[in-house]
Amino acid sequence: MIEFITQPWPWWFSGLMISGIMFFLLFFGQSFGFSSNLRTICAAAGLGKTNKFFDFNWRGQIWNIVFLIGAVLGGFLTKQFLDTGAPVQISQETIQDLSKLGISEPESLQPTEIFGTDAMFSLKGFLILAIAGLMVGFGSRYAGGCTSGHAISGLSDLQFPSLIAVIGFFVGGLIMTFLIMPLIF
């Protein structure tokens, strides 16, 4: 049992659990959409005073902020109690492709070249993190949702706008992966 828990979990179990989380949120009268939290935090920080996009009743979104705190806690608990710290089991082709970009094969969950302390405090490393965040934050609000809101909730409801958004996610992801990343790494 302990061995099963500390091993990486299979995709089908993860997919099952994620749809379960979406259904429980619906049952609790809410919906699954994580990036709304970004707008809520801006509103809670008082930015509604200068911009009307952030002037709304953000207190009605506290449940989602609590979900966010739970997600942080979930990451922490996994690291402390459920993890072997084993390298991520990605395919050999991906390891080879990434080595051409100067990213060494996985030793843990994340590449040290991007998320290690040295990278974080270098100018280039910091800019990579900052620009990635800017684009995710800007793009998710422009598109009206992120992976949870569009790819999971929206597609489950067969919403055409969500399909367009998910196509956009992939257009952007492929441009970054194949055209831009070879230039910056």
Binding site: S35, F67, G75, T94, G133, M135, V136, S140, A143, G173
Partner: protein, 137 residues
């Protein structure tokens, strides 16, 4: 007390996303390079079960725990904002290897660099709010 259930769901989300490696930058790269089924399996399973479940909720007019019928509001009809916004999101998703949920899960796991990504995601959202009226939707 009424928020405890959302905390529990958030904890489960964080654990599942970490244990299935969906919060890993490596897995997102592998997905965009079409070199493994893993991420497609996760999203595909969730969406397949989701489509079936949402259809059942609508067909049987299932109610939530406080007795209100569960309703789904259609999103505004447009192509431009979803395609352009989605593409900008995708650029960031591939570069940082995380969408907003996995960012905070990573912070909990101990990757402080993800806190920088998340902080700038807040700034990005604020920028959208500032530019909203000037952007085509």
């Amino acid at each position: 007390m009424k928020f405890i259930k959302f905390l529990v769901l958030g904890v489960i989300f964080g654990i599942v996303m970490t244990k299935s490696e969906a919060v890993s930058w490596f897995r997102i790269q592998e997905m965009f390079r079409f070199q493994a089924f893993h991420m497609y399996g996760i999203i595909g399973t969730a969406v397949t079960l989701g489509v079936a479940g949402v259809a059942l909720i609508k067909k049987f007019k299932i109610r939530d725990f406080s007795g209100n019928q569960i309703l789904f509001s259609p999103k505004d009809n447009s192509v431009y904002r979803y395609l352009v916004g989605g593409t900008i999101f995708g650029l960031g998703w591939a570069l940082g290897g995380a969408c907003p949920g996995p960012m905070v899960v990573n912070v909990g796991y101990g990757y402080w660099a993800m806190a920088i990504v998340f902080f700038f995601a807040l700034i990005g959202t604020y920028l959208y709010g500032v530019l909203k009226s000037k952007l085509p939707h």
